[in-house]
Amino acid sequence: MSPPDRPRAKAARHRLVPMAAGLFVVGYVLLLLAVTFAGQHRLRELLGTQHQYTLEKTAAALGYFFDERRRDIERLREDRALESFFANQALGMSMEYGLQASLRNVERTLNRVVEKTHINGWPVFQRIILLDNARVPLADTSAGGPPIALQLSADEEASKSVAIVIDRGGDAVTISLQARYEHKGWPAGYVVASVNQDTAFEELVRHLGESAHFELSVVDEQGRRVMGSGRLTGEADAVPAGAAAAPSPPVSLRAAVPGTALAIVEQDARYWGNDYLTSSWLTASLAVLALLVLAGATITQRTRTQNLMLQAQVDEAARQEDQLNQRNERLEEEMRVRLQYEEQLLRQANYDQLTGLPNRNLAIDRLEQAMSRGRRTGAQVVVLYLDLDRFKNVNDTLGHSAGDQVLLQAAGRLSQVARANDTVARLGGDEFLIVMADVDPGPNAEKAAERVAEAALRSFSDPFPVSGQEFFVSISIGISVFPDDGDKAERLLQHADTALYQAKEEGRHAFRFFTPDMNRRAQRRAAMEGHLLHAVERKELSLVYQPIVSLRTGSTVAFEALLRWQNPALGAVSPALFIPLAEETGLIQEIGEWVLDEAVADLASWDAGPALRLAVNVSSRQLRNPRRFLSTVEAALVRHGVQASQLELEITERLLLEELPDTALALRELDARGVRLSVDDFGTGYSSLGYLKRFPVDVLKIDRSFVNGVLKDSSDAALVRAILALAQALHLSVVAEGVESPAQAEFLHTNGCPCGQGFWFSRPLRPEDVPAYLAASSATPKACVA
């Protein structure tokens, strides 16, 4: 089934079900009604039968009642009192003498019968009369009452049976039992007993029981009413004699009273018992009710459906609300998070993550605010640019987490040092800034700055505990003052930085105030840096070679490559200036590579044989990336076809003392290849000589400062001798640097120094001049071994 059909089919199915249910219900209701009808009909039938039965039962009861009354009369007839009376009468006794008593007895008997004959407390007989043959009342319980006509038929008289007689004479119909009285076989008189109709009717009613509310009549053979019931009350009403003549209403049910000529009839079958159950009205109303129920059910169903829909809508709304709420919550959460981030960002934007100090942005902002305030108020602003000395070393040796610890502590110390209103900021790395705002103008400003700077320096005199160890860290401070040193924040910072640089240059752990001079120097430096950047590509660099000569033979053993820089703008820049700059900036890498390649190329071009070595200065920076350095060296050697043994790398003692693992690794590698290593400026570093074990050193180059004083200073001479001895002991080659006089050469030679280098022997040569020099010098180069 394709999707579009499904909903339709579904809908149809949905409609079908309630319809079927409805039909079923209707069918069921109709069935119920049919059953009800049938039931009613049957019920009516049964009721009719029951009715008839009840009627007959009642008639039987009445018959029995009359039977009993007959027996009462018969008993009465046999009463001794009557017998005695008639006996006495027969004997001829007179009333005056004895008969009266008998009669009294009879009367008493009759009265007794009247009084004592009861049914359920109701008197049965109203009146009993004893009459003589002449139908003259002898004894009468209601003497003086209306006469009751004797209506015995000849048969009845003859049979002496007790007849039930309906007397219609008089005001009301009376029912009486009449019988002949015989004394000793001879007719003596009559007994007449009138029945209490109420009692008789009570009998009727009693047997009707719950059906006592329908209309009954006791009628005689002609159908004339004898006793009747009032509607719904069951009380007998004495039927007026006159009414007997009126035509009786149609009879529905009839039951003959046994033993009598009477019958019980029911005139109106309408008011039968259970008429509610059997009435057609009931059925009709049931039908209507059923319709109502159906209607009600339909409405209920509809309402329910609506309810369900509403409920679904409500649920949906609730769900949506829920969703919205959830979204809201999420939004709020996001907003919170966002705000947090913003705050964080703001913080980050303005504050240093690690130390919590304001960062550069905020510092500058504060500085500018202080400056604008200063402009208004005339106050001065002091900027202190602080830098942790050799912080890189700490980071490199102990790791960054230790470095962070130091920074944190430094930040703390500086914060202590600064005044309340000052801003202590971390500019980044190991650089801090203190902005002293609202400083009183004049010489006091300088004094205030000095105070703070000195305090800062003092605060760093205590060691920093890091990872269980203690390290001493010093700071250098550069100070600039507003408005003297500039009216722009950047400018002030710059100048402070320049001053800082100066402080570092001048030995660190000090503070310097900015001077315009500094600026010039800084500018110069900056300019130089800029030029240096392009020095390689502009081919402004050149190498010159200073021969290293054997002091014994005087032959050139090796050439040390020295870097020269000729810049159009700056002129000839001293290596002492630009090489540290190159090392600082990292240009040394590029430059170093160029130097290596160039020098090796030159060596190759001289074609002076494998014995001539080339000594190239190498910066430890270059050794930071040993692999690269190695490949550079190898590439150069291979490219120019120079043997590794011809290459000698000079590294300053200080750099070796730094004991960096990279250095050792690279050097060992190089040594493995056959490249020689010489320690430059030997003697100038202050450390143990243990490194001589660690590094594969081949040559020691005595620093020129020692060589310079070898003749003048006995301690220098002693030192040189010691160095020579040491070298000898360790089987190391020695080269004395800065030999400028023959006396020096002599001394050195005397003391066993194998080689020397200096202006005495030759000033540095241009590469193109080397072959000529080589040709001029005699003898083959030898190694600088004593």
């Binding site: 006495n88 004997l91 001829g92 007179s94 009333m95 004895g98």
Partner: protein
């Protein structure tokens, strides 16, 4: 019949009797003595419904009530017709025609005599009677199959008596001396009837059974007894007619107990007024008031 006259005559004779007989043999006391004794002794001969002999009877209840009225104990003392008066007065007596014949002395056994005692002339000579307690009379009864037929009442008692006396000539008539059925009282013998005084017949209620047995053709019987007999043997006994004038019964007292008698008369008045007496009558002799309506008429 005028009961008042009768009563006065009784009283007169009583006084005479008292004077005449003196107080010979009178050992009983009057009301104070009786009160002091705390007990009223009722002499009674079982007779009809007056004294049944088994503890009840109209006179038993009457005297019981009197004892209660006096506030003293009741005691029944049985006696018979022969000695009844002797037990009361202390001296036996019997009727001899209209007069009493005094006999030997005897101890007094009771304070009063009540059992449907007909107030007769001779009895008045020996004792004092209370106010009349019951009406009476004497009828002649016969067996139903006797040839004697009941008279046709003429409306006149004397004439009716005459009719009866005429009818019994030559018939055997049962009578009982010393009682109200004493034939001498009614000059029965003069009627030419054969009076039979059967020795085995001692009580009045044996009269009817006697004639039923055929001991005689007819019998004298007092009205109360006759009524009882009629009820007992309906159709076997018939009443022929009256033999006596109207009589009354009363309670006999000693001459020496006038207070007691007076007290009884007062008591009788009371119960006649409040209907107690009537109730007694209805209980024991319901038919009697019909025959003697004047007696029972409320005064």
């Amino acid at each position: 019949m005028d009961l008042r006259r009768l009563a006065r005559r009784c009283l007169a004779w009583a006084w005479l009797a008292l004077l005449g007989t003196g107080s010979a043999g009178a050992t009983g006391g009057d009301l104070p003595d009786v009160r002091a004794a705390g007990v009223l002794r009722h002499l009674g001969v079982p007779y009809a419904n007056f004294v049944s002999g088994s503890g009840d009877g109209m006179d038993v209840e009457l005297i019981r009530g009197f004892a209660a009225h006096l506030g003293i104990r009741y005691e029944f003392v049985e006696t018979d017709w022969k000695r009844a008066f002797g037990d009361l007065t202390g001296r036996h007596a019997r009727g001899a025609g209209q007069h009493a014949e005094l006999l030997e002395e005897t101890p007094v056994r009771g304070d009063l005599l009540a059992n449907g005692v007909t107030i007769l002339e001779w009895r008045r000579e020996v004792a004092d009677f209370s106010a009349p307690t019951f009406p009476s009379g004497v009828w002649l009864i016969a067996r139903a199959d006797a040839s004697l037929s009941p008279i046709r009442p003429s409306g006149n008692l004397a004439r009716d008596i005459g009719l009866v006396k005429t009818a019994i000539g030559g018939r055997s008539v049962l009578a009982l001396e010393n009682t109200c059925l004493d034939p001498k009282l009614y000059a029965v013998a003069e009627t030419g009837a054969h009076v039979r005084l059967l020795p085995h017949v001692r009580n009045l209620n044996e009269m009817a059974p006697a004639i039923l047995r055929g001991d005689a053709e007819a019998s004298l019987l007092d009205v109360p007894d006759a009524l009882v007999a009629l009820e007992k043997w309906p159709g076997e006994i018939k009443v022929i007619g009256p033999v006596s004038e109207a009589q009354v019964m009363g309670v006999a007292f000693r001459r020496e107990s006038p207070q007691l008698r007076a007290a009884f008369d007062r008591y009788l008045e009371t119960i006649r007024a409040d209907g107690t007496f009537r109730r007694l009558v209805e209980k024991y002799y319901p038919a009697v008031p019909d025959y003697f309506p004047e007696f029972f008429a409320q005064r």
